[in-house]
Symmetry: C2
Subunit: 351 residues, 2 copies
DNA sequence: CTGAAAGCGCTTACAG
DNA sequence: CTGAAAGCGCTTACAG
């Protein structure tokens, strides 16, 4: 059962040709006589030869691999992102080297540097990218595309969700339904997505005469949404609608309302953000902004592979150039919780 | 902004030593004079040197990477698996090369072979492993551990969920609650997990005098669960309990019952399998078997890394040896839908 | 403790 | 169309 390790030299010897010819034959180069190619392929197959990845990468200066460096692997967001990147990579026949780290910049720096010589380009999500010099100092000299990452200077191509526009759209939806006093349950303050959603809410409220908003703190989990829901009910003048900065908080809030006997949407409208799978299953089903994270990953990997194929090999653009930035607009999904006219395809319940 | 590519030779030249000394200094070998080491480290840092992965792998015959080959990336199962593997790999400072393919054996064969020279070992989930010779012919000569994969001969170490025991446990739970006529909604026939769950159900029913089971087809999605639920209600003698082979089908069934005005658990008890996140959010919350897929992945990667460190370098065991097989027992999670005494921590709703 | 040299397994100009 | 040779960027016996 011990399989011998077979190299290109074994194939060459067995086929009676040079290793150069084996290499050319197996890599589909044109300048190989057809009978020779057949012969080499037959021998390679018989010996179950497959080329050594590191050797091939070293000599060809190409790894056929993209590196993906993420802050975490936990939760819907990352699994969708990985799925989208994986699909995009496979479509272009690339491998995917996945690295996650926890918390501190040191670890991410190490993860980034370890990619040199292993990948042809990088997809990076970094909470430290707005720290001046962080990426400049730690990205290997390779093409890189940022995902959902806020850079101080737009030095790298970037793909992100348009949280600001999404929050404005949702607020506009609630306003269009006639609600004027709207509560906002905010996400964690240091979080850039949270900041953008809050900004969108504020802007939409400010732009609408007669509308007023009040804000409650939260940190993107159910429990904080639950607390905010209780606080909203306890406050003086009850808002007509609540917009939670993500779905998990909206669910917590929904639960608080249910406990208090407050009906959604009859007594108060409710909306979230993200369209997590749960959103359509809860009762009432949740109006939310749908964000296609898999698509975000897929488009980012396409952009990266295009750049790699174009032969770019530097980390960061030439000086003075501004990197392209791609924002994906989330889509309003109206369900029962906001009391608006539901889109038939977004209906509640399985079956 | 164009960063020059710096190699070990640049560091050596700059530090005034040989490349051998740089290599030893940076890799923490003992036989380097302390001042020399300091000097080399300073230069490496100043030049932002990081070693070239492929070159290092080729000469050291070690990639510090494990390969993960999966049939798909879609859904809770794979994201949890990847998360568990990723955490395990990071804990042991290994990289993770992730490859997914769709459908056919050819594609998986290619994915497996492409791993040679890129990884030190493989974690493989393969629907084709019971096809004689498939793994033998396509696994590179590396240590490999199988995950949730049914092999005809137990030639490789394997980690899997004990679906049979889990289904028996759930059936026993329903029987213990006094239910005697129990319906089972089966998964897709070719699926090995589905087969094992069905086998566990049958065995538990057969072992219990006075109990009777009837079976309905399904294919692990909501819609088939919904159809089965309708069929169950339409049939002559209504069962006292329904056990769906997975949670998604249980949810579909629950929805059919709700539409028909049949109350769960008062009129009929219901249980699922998997403990997907939705299970605790639906109403009534769903009794199910919890399967820790992340743990499955984590343990598999540990087993693989142990084998790699032990210096094994062959695909498959020595002839005559039987590979170890690890089954992870799922855990019964009693919630409202079965009408049993609920565990306090498993309660319904957020907050 | 240090360096010169061989070698890891490929690819790719360069000749022919 | 084919082969001999150089080289990719490291690591590691081997001498000293």
């Amino acid at each position: 059962m011990v399989r011998p390790v077979v190299t290109i030299r074994d194939v060459a010897r067995e086929a009676g040709v040079s290793v150069a010819t084996v290499s050319r034959a197996l890599n589909g180069h044109a300048n190989v006589a057809e009978p020779v190619r057949k012969q080499v392929e037959a021998v390679a197959q018989r010996l179950r030869y497959s080329p050594h990845g590191a050797a091939r990468s070293l000599s060809s200066r190409s790894t056929q691999t993209i590196g993906v460096v993420l802050p975490d692997l936990h939760g819907e967001f990352f699994s969708e992102l990985i799925r989208g990147i994986g699909a995009g990579a496979r479509a272009r026949r690339k491998h995917m080297l996945l690295s996650s780290y926890h918390g501190d910049p040191e670890q991410q720096a190490a993860a980034l540097r370890a990619m040199r010589g292993r990948v042809d380009g990088l997809l990076v999500m970094s909470p430290f990218a707005d720290q001046p010099g962080f990426l400049e100092e730690n990205l290997p000299p390779l093409p890189a595309v940022l995902v959902n990452t806020h850079q101080a200077e737009p030095a790298w191509p970037a793909f992100e969700v348009d949280n600001h526009a999404g929050a404005m759209a949702m607020t506009a939806h609630l306003l269009a339904l006639g609600h004027r006093r709207i509560a906002f349950i905010a996400g964690p303050e240091p979080n850039y997505d949270a900041q953008e959603r809050l900004r969108g809410f504020r802007e939409a409220i400010a732009a609408h005469p007669g509308a007023s908003g009040c804000e409650y703190p939260g940190d993107f989990d159910e429990a904080s949404g639950h607390r905010a829901g209780q606080a909203i009910l306890a406050a003086g003048e009850r808002p007509q609608a609540v917009f939670a900065a993500n779905d998990m908080m909206a669910l917590g809030c929904l639960y608080a309302f249910a406990q208090a006997g407050v009906r959604v949407p009859q007594d108060i409208a409710l909306a979230g953000f993200d369209d997590i799978p749960l959103a359509r299953f809860v009762h009432p089903s949740l109006t939310t902004m749908r964000v296609s994270i898999a698509q975000l990953g897929g488009r980012a990997v396409e952009r990266l592979l295009d750049q790699i194929e174009a032969g770019a090999d530097v980390a960061g653009p030439a000086s003075g150039e501004v990197a392209d930035r791609h924002v994906l607009a989330p889509e309003l999904v109206v369900r029962a919780s906001s009391g608006g006219p539901e889109h038939p395809a977004s209906g509640t319940g399985p079956g």
